[in-house]
């Protein structure tokens, strides 16, 4: 009983002390009260936005050159969905806490529809001239430019040079060569991103696009979804799983589990982003180390290459107190060789400026990107993209895993796409 009283008293004391409340609550607060002076706030997330990351270096570079309008990074979480949610909460409240927004290439339409971002039509010509066409396209919606391209990304085919002579050019070849090589080495043929998430849609689209399929026409007023082609590539993936061309972990793998399989030497081929290259090269104990190379992704037809485009653009918040400076910043980051080169040389983040790649041809990753990116395709940056993606995941993922009828799955995707343009 006495003890209980002591606890209670100690608790009471604790309350009193704590009630003095949060340390430094207001000096660093970012609750959207209009930023004084000319400082810009750049809301961007991920590894490169951390202290020491390349986005920080870009911000410092700008701040040095523009002491009147320095820029500060407001670090968003790692995951894209959470980044979007945090931007959305601030923008929904029409808060001026963020001036520049790091916007995933698939959010452009949604942000413009919600009136969250400023139109960049005034600087369009400059940006269009400097940027890769795919990256530029991903920043437009409804014929208008809503963001300035900043960094981009494309998928590579990673292959083991000690197990196969040269990279296959069609997916069917890949399975054929892969199964034989894998059997000889006692490992698995291929891994990509087959878990039920956005990456699965990216992987699926790379098959579908490379077979000649399209989702919409140019200005997205008409659905061009080809159910026959879609059923064909879905069937191909289902067979690849059933026949052991895809490693057993394929249907639960995101980027990292896929990299892990390759780095542990468990697969012959892998579809992944450029980031894997450096990591496997650093890992001297890996069976793949020194025994792998990168190539453009195969296609269904065997012609050319195609990759889904990733990356982030910079948009200007419609609620910013300092729009002019913010527009200057995003234009600079898209069109000045200095920050764009910094991305590539400091962090191997693929820049969006076409001319930068010419000077980077010594770097094998950048050289391949320079080759692949002109053919890379953005997912339609429509306001409905998230809904479309969820629907495609829900219909196609079970179909690929032999859980549902392929024909009805692709038909439901077509119906959904048609519903989006009415």
């Amino acid at each position: 009983m006495r003890k209980a009283m002591t606890w209670l008293a100690a608790g009471g004391a604790f309350v009193l002390v704590m009630a003095a409340c949060t340390p430094g609550g207001d000096d660093n607060g970012d609750d959207g009260d209009g930023e004084a002076g000319g400082e810009l706030v750049w809301a961007i997330g991920g590894a490169e936005a951390q202290p020491g990351g390349v986005h920080q270096q870009v911000a410092e570079l700008w701040s040095e050159q523009n002491p009147d309008n320095p820029i500060r990074i407001e670090l968003l979480p790692e995951e894209a969905d959470q980044q979007r949610e945090q931007q959305a909460l601030e923008l929904q409240a029409e808060g001026s806490g963020f001036d520049v927004l790091g916007v995933d290439v698939i959010w452009t339409g949604e942000y413009s529809e919600n009136g969250w971002v400023e139109s960049l039509e005034d600087v369009r010509a400059e940006i269009e001239e400097a940027s890769l066409p795919g990256a530029f396209e991903s920043a437009t919606w409804g014929g208008e430019l809503w963001a300035a391209p900043y960094n981009t990304n494309a998928g590579f085919l990673y292959y083991r040079t000690d197990l196969v002579e040269e990279p296959p050019t069609t997916w069917a070849d890949l399975c054929q060569v892969g199964v034989a090589a894998a059997e000889a080495a006692g490992i698995q043929p291929f891994i990509g991103q087959g878990a039920q998430y956005e990456g699965f849609v990216v992987n699926w689209l790379e098959y579908y696009w490379s077979a000649g399929g399209e989702l919409y026409n140019e200005d997205q007023t008409e659905v061009l979804f080809d159910t026959e082609l879609a059923a064909q590539v879905t069937q191909f993936m289902a067979d690849a799983i059933a026949q052991g061309c895809y490693a057993p972990g394929f249907n639960t793998a995101q980027e990292e589990p896929a990299r892990n399989e390759f780095q542990q030497g468990n697969v012959v081929f892998m579809r992944n982003w450029p980031y894997v290259y450096g990591l496997v090269n650093e890992d001297t104990g890996s069976p793949a180390n020194g025994n792998f190379d990168i190539a453009p992704l195969p296609t269904v037809t065997g012609e050319g290459t195609i990759s889904a485009l990733g990356g982030f653009n910079n948009a200007v918040s419609a609620f910013s107190d300092n729009k002019d400076a913010a527009i200057d910043f995003v234009t600079w980051a898209a069109t000045d060789p200095e920050p764009q080169t910094l991305l590539a040389t400091e962090a191997s983040v693929p820049p969006t400026m076409e001319s930068v790649y010419e000077d980077l041809s010594d770097d094998p990753v950048m050289a391949l990107l320079g080759e692949v990116l002109p053919d890379a395709k953005p997912r339609p940056p429509a306001p409905q993209w998230n809904e479309i993606s969820v629907e495609m995941q829900r219909a196609l993922h079970p179909a690929v895993n032999g859980q549902g009828d392929i024909q009805s799955a692709v038909e439901s995707v077509r119906d959904f796409l048609e519903g989006t343009i009415e």
């Binding site: 209980a4 409340c21 609550g25 660093n28 607060g29 959470q82 982003w273």
Partner: protein, 293 residues
């Protein structure tokens, strides 16, 4: 210690011949329980000590190289500040919940109140709405009140959403205490309030401390509200789970498993100490009280 008194006379009946077999059985059972609870934790510890990208992902727990780099990384990211925030926020939640929840629980268990079941239902209902749907309106409200990125902005909603659990636990524990004891106190001239804090509260100690641990751990581990209301800045109010989720690899897509597991070990050890300290109180409850009389 005082724990010895808790289970009197339960182990006297075995005959010597069966004792050996029973001992083996018990040891085996204990072994399984320890393995079940601790193996994943052991994996966490081993992973947190591994260096190099591939070792981290190897199915072989004992594949090196090993080192303390991950722990260094954790503390380079101001993790001690996150720990401080979490301790303060979870501590405040626990104290407020226990204090005001005790009062409510006592009223519901012992005092005359109309429509108790309706009240209990109402209390329960508070915590049942899917929290993710409450975030947007609360965010707006918090924004206007200036509660974003503050400790208060987190422990106030935590208190509100954990109070139902607190009240339910405490109500049942108060209700389980024989009424005669309290009435005896009242006959001795104690006021209702004295009866509450001198007789009932200590007797309900096991329930109170069980509730306290549960509240503390729940508030400590909460992620959704913490990541929306205080997503950044360890100097201000970012909590431990949010900080761990914010760890990034060196490059995009890379997941820093080593750093994450190291942070997790750093978090779990003080948590176990806190939980054990409270748990002692649960088990010591009986001996501190006077029910036996």
């Amino acid at each position: 210690m005082s724990d010895v008194a808790t289970a009197p006379g339960r182990e006297i009946e075995a005959t010597p011949r069966r004792e050996g077999a029973r001992l083996w059985g018990k040891t085996g059972l204990l072994g399984i329980i320890l393995l079940w609870c601790l193996f994943p934790f052991f994996w966490l510890i081993m992973t947190s000590l591994k260096l190099g990208d591939r070792a981290l992902n190897s199915p072989d727990i004992f594949q090196g190289p090993f080192g303390l780099d991950n722990y260094r990384n954790v503390f380079e990211q101001d993790f001690q500040l996150n720990l401080r925030n979490s301790f303060a926020i979870a501590g405040m939640t626990t104290i407020i919940c226990i204090v005001i929840g005790s009062l409510a629980g006592y009223a519901l268990a012992r005092l005359p109140l109309k429509r108790k079941i309706l009240l209990l239902t109402g209390v329960l209902a508070v915590s049942l709405f899917p929290p993710v749907a409450l975030v947007p309106p609360l965010y707006e409200l918090w924004r206007n009140l200036g509660l974003l990125n503050t400790w208060e902005g987190l422990y106030i909603p935590y208190t509100a959403f954990t109070l139902p659990l607190t009240i339910f636990i405490l109500t049942t524990f108060y209700a389980a205490i024989p009424k005669e004891l309290e009435e005896a106190a009242r006959v001795d001239g104690a006021t209702p309030f004295q009866a509450f804090y001198k007789v009932i509260f200590p007797l309900a100690a096991p329930g109170v401390f069980a509730a306290a641990i549960i509240i503390f751990v729940t508030a400590w581990n909460e992620f959704l509200l913490a990541s929306t209301f205080a997503p950044r800045n360890p100097e201000v109010a970012q909590t431990v789970p949010v900080a761990i989720a914010a760890f990034t690899g060196q490059v995009e897509f890379q997941r820093p498993i080593g750093t994450i597991t190291a942070a997790c070990v750093v978090v779990v050890i003080p948590m176990i100490i806190v939980a054990l300290a409270f748990q002692r109180r649960i088990v010591a409850g009986l001996t501190a009280g006077s029910v036996k009389g």
